[in-house]
Symmetry: C2
Subunit: 73 residues, 2 copies
DNA sequence: CTGTGATGTTAATAATATTTGACATGGAAA
DNA sequence: TTTCCATGTCAAATATTATTAACATCACAG
């Protein structure tokens, strides 16, 4: 892992909360590859705003329900 | 002109609502260049999630208050 | 045991975001 | 007018993120 992003997310929980949606199924819904979903879910990098919005849209939640950014120290 | 993003934002309003903050001042606060702020504000491309979070943090609002994504048709 | 689906890894490449630096414009002072 | 400041534009370079493909592991059904 070269440089994990500082943005965390709840994608894994949201997938399971939505009928055991697989990573491949989610990737399909938002039009990216399965590897992209894996990388984002693992926090290996933070996605573009557009992809982030699409993920939130699939789960019918707000952006802030999917991604968390640490407060200033 | 080449390919405007589908994500819109309220950065300009937020800047003026926060004591006439200039683009340069905002760029400074979030650690990017002035040109980046201009491009984002104009919707020429959507920023990374991290930059998006930092902008929201400066104005003390949520991500959804800064950026808007069109609903599914 | 064999096969299958879900998940994970890596490396290479493509695409997009960001930086840098230079220059232009309009408005508001001095 | 001249100067300063905020805004905007452009092109080229770098950095970051996304895509693809190939392969590995694990759990589990048959």
């Amino acid at each position: 892992m070269v440089k994990p992003t500082s943005v965390s997310n709840t994608i894994r929980s949201l997938r399971f909360a939505n009928g055991e949606m697989t990573q491949a199924a989610l990737a399909d819904r938002i039009g990216v590859t399965r590897q992209t979903v894996i990388a984002i879910e693992q926090g290996r990098y933070s996605p573009s705003l557009e992809v982030a919005f699409q993920i939130a849209q699939v789960f019918k939640v707000s952006l802030d329900d999917v991604f968390q950014y640490p407060d200033l120290p």
